[in-house]
């Protein structure tokens, strides 16, 4: 696996009353979250409807370097939501080692889809990532939370990413 271009800054999330320590002792390395996020077979994609109500649906996707890629039909609820409001949350499937990614989605032109998104998707799901069936979106993380049940509360960690280039 190629390395992320940048290491995000690790912090403690604000969680009063749960005994999350002030010190950084026990905080997880970014690789812990990245690896679990990459390995998740199913993801939950959370978007917001124009009327302000949230929407959640299971989807497939692949993590490459420093962003997550998925595809959805252009008329789907999530697609219509993201056209209006690109902010979204992506959760992994294993609640015991939950990784929550808050980020911004961008719809990619076909030429901008990295080749590895196709090959990794095919290898992971035995299914073609096909922009003709639904545009491919890239979700760039802004904040990532790890909530490891077994290492709770010492392992609870939040990573903050610098804004990368232009963000809508």
């Amino acid at each position: 696996m190629s390395e992320a271009k940048q290491q995000p800054k690790a912090l403690r999330p604000k969680m009063d009353g749960y005994g999350v320590p002030q010190s950084s002792e026990g905080m997880l390395p970014w690789e812990w979250a990245r690896d679990r996020f990459s390995r998740s077979h199913n993801y939950l994609l959370i978007t917001v409807r124009p009327d302000g109500a949230p929407h959640a649906m299971p989807v497939w996707g692949v993590w490459l370097e420093d962003a997550w890629y998925f595809s959805t039909g252009s008329t789907s609820r999530k697609s219509r939501n993201l056209e209006r409001n690109a902010k979204c949350v992506v959760c992994t499937e294993n609640a015991e080692e939950a990784v929550i990614v808050e980020g911004t989605a961008h719809r990619l032109k076909d030429v901008d889809i990295p080749q590895r998104a196709f090959t990794d998707y095919k290898a992971k799901y035995d299914w073609e990532l096909d922009p003709k069936l639904g545009p491919v979106w890239k979700v760039s993380p802004s904040v990532v939370f790890a909530m490891p049940e077994k290492q709770f509360p010492k392992g609870v960690t939040k990573w903050v990413f610098e804004l990368q280039g232009s963000s809508k």
Partner: protein, 178 residues
């Protein structure tokens, strides 16, 4: 954006066990999935209810005032077709819900995923349904205790989706509550 529905909290109480069964239908899915059009295999509401009650951890999704979604893991109770949880009024989710009560509750087992879209309302300790505190004690080891200082919320479902991954094509089901 809708404002807080505090008033509805008062109308709770003993009648809540007579909740009507929700209407079952199919969610809209892309044709490329090749799911059958027939309704055969759709799940009974009790399938979802049992799993919602059994889930130990849940994810709650709310929306921040600036429109960004927020998701957090938490404990809670599914009781008489509603979801109950407690949180301090200073948490992100409490602040979000005070502005926008629309939220989503998700069960923990992704292989039998259940997504509940609903509306959250605060509910006074004296208005909690009978049996809820005992259920909390048996599930998590402590009763619902006002001295712990949090606020209790009830999420009433509007739409519920079930995605049982092993029989997804025939069993995927959407329930709508009136």
């Amino acid at each position: 954006m809708p404002t807080k529905p505090k008033k509805a909290a008062q109308k709770s109480g003993a009648t809540s066990s007579s909740v009507a069964q929700p209407r079952a239908s199919r969610p809209v899915v892309p044709r490329s999935y090749r799911f059958p059009a027939s309704l055969k295999g759709m799940l009974d509401w009790s399938w979802a209810r049992e799993r919602l009650a059994k889930s130990y951890n849940y994810v709650i999704v709310t929306v921040r005032p600036d429109g960004r979604p927020h998701a957090m893991g938490m404990h809670g109770l599914w009781f008489e077709d509603a979801y109950y949880f407690g949180t301090s009024p200073h948490t992100r989710k409490a602040k979000n819900l005070a502005r926008n009560p629309h939220c989503i509750v998700i069960s923990e087992d992704m292989s039998e995923l259940i997504i509940v879209e609903g509306i959250a309302e605060t509910i006074g300790y004296d208005a909690l349904p009978k049996g809820l505190s005992d259920l909390s004690k048996s599930k998590y080891g402590w009763p619902i205790d006002p001295r712990m200082g949090g606020q209790v919320y009830r999420v009433k479902p509007k739409v519920v989706f079930a995605f049982p991954l092993k029989q997804i094509a025939t069993a995927v089901t959407k329930w709508t509550f009136d």
